[in-house]
Amino acid sequence: MQISRETLLRSYRAMRTIRAFEERLHREFATGEIPGFVHLYCGEEASAVGVCANLTEQDTIASTHRGHGHCIAKGVDVGGMMAEIYGRKTGVCRGKGGSMHIADLSKGMLGANGIVGGGPPLICGAALSHKVLKDNGVAVAFYGDGASNEGTTLESLNLASVWHLPAVFVVEDNGYGEATGSSYACAGTQKDRAAGFGMPYMECDGSDFFAVHDAARDAIDHARSGKGPVMLHVHLERWYGHFEGDSMSYRAPNEVADAKKNHDCLESFRERAGQDKLLELSALDEIDAAVADEIESAVEAAKQAPWPEEADLMADVYVKI
């Protein structure tokens, strides 16, 4: 099925925004100005964007440590995210969550998550909400190959099948859980795991936006039409370490360079768009320039934004005591 021009432009912009956001964080983190832990999504942009291009604002996603890309793809405000990562009061979580806990429930973004495997059970609940409230929504759990070994994930695959939930389990397989290879840590295959819980399995090349988009469309349509949960296995490569500061001594010297050269989702998008005359490259260049300005403004604004105040420490532990 043809992807609309509007969707293509929006998706390219989202992928470029993620790339620029993360590359800038990589540079800013090295200056020491960004507190805490940061886990970058560079190289994986097509996964978040290809999946979320098939979702509405009403649909729900849950994310991971490596959550910036999912947030941007689901429409969370970029300036608010940057301010959050800088720990400022203007952040999307008012400076109380940080990189690992960016969330915006008004956008159906149930949160990045500091706990590996934290998201899949939550997504069973969000899917149950969609089902009980009959709002035609779908809930999507993004989780890594590392989280695929968590009991919470395996229990959630079972529960989603037992309850016949409108849920999609997106395994973002970048080959590493922290520093340990998935070839070591994952017994069997993701495909067999899906089969073990009686759910359909799809897989795609995560460096190809069009491949992710089409596979995700089929997976999401399946879940939305009431046929139960689906697993979508996305093969990816991450361009930076598990966290910023990771020397990546567990990876072969040419692995990242090769990924950047041969599996860049933005480059492959531009090639395909040009070859198939889907979009003019000048339109994409305009997006690149606009995104660069947006990220620059976001960083400037974040650095100048106020810090949270003493009264914020005790605020919002409870709705009401």
Binding site: K96, G97, L105, G111, G118, P120, L128, V162
Partner: protein, 342 residues
Amino acid sequence: MSKKSFRQAINEALRQEMRRDPTVVLMGEDVAGGQGGSSGVKDAWGGVLGVTKGLLTEFGENRVLDTPISEASYIGAAAGAAATGLRPVAELMFVDFVGCCLDQIMNQAAKFRYMFGGKARTPLVIRAMYGAGFNAAAQHSQALYPLFTHIPGLKVVVPSSPYEAKGLLIEAIRDDDPVIFLENKVMYDDVEDVPDEAYTIPFGEANLTREGDDVTIVAIGRMVGMANEAADRLAKQGISCTVLDPRTTFPLDEQTILECVEDTGRLVIVDESSPRCNMACDISALVAEQAFGALKAPIRRVVPPHTPVPFSTPLENLYMPNADKIEAAVKAVMMQKTREVA
């Protein structure tokens, strides 16, 4: 108003709230009990001790959800559902099973609101049985309310009677924060007058089951009944006690505890949970910090020893607080030489 058991009071609270609010859903292991069984009876159990009996029949399978034995997934699902528009009441069966799903409570549900800058509401209730006295041994008898009380973001309810259970559970379901609601398994057949209509009991407001001049006894959950029994006996011996039921360990009604200690000058705390870092410690610290000058005698704690809950009846009896131990503790604080209070 009619006589109802603790079990019936809870069932009625659930039923009335489910009738009032279509977003209230129940989930848990065998809350209906019988799905997939060969008899075809889908609500065969209605909870392992029959507390949720009949709710499937009235509200259907979309709102009364049997789960696999899979605490991490369904307690996490309850948290996710609460954050996205439902008011789930998830039954953990025995609170001891929190070992299988603490992350979903401690790191997810409890923290959403704060981590997300006040933008989340997680109106979740987790019901679970607690307590020794049932020969249920070490993995089915713990009183883990201090564990939950320790975690910011959670509210913790420990009802002491059928009347209290109904009003506090309705309050819990209507509350917008995650609430841990702990039911003492020995009390399900306790009976008292309970109003037929729905009513709420606010959190953080202690209940004084009796007022006296000599000693304040703070007791939690099932311990309230034991404290009242001890106080009855002590009254015949000329010692008059206040018995204070905090109802909720968070929020804790610190003000009423302090006022009672100011009045009586003596404090005994009865807590069924393991003695290190339990509510008795917490309340002792509160009084030591804020009402030290009012104390005529050292605080006494009536608590179990620092052991797992034993199985065998004589050992479990030794383990548990009871009216005799409470009576002895009250007499001990009365015999302390009265200190002059300036």
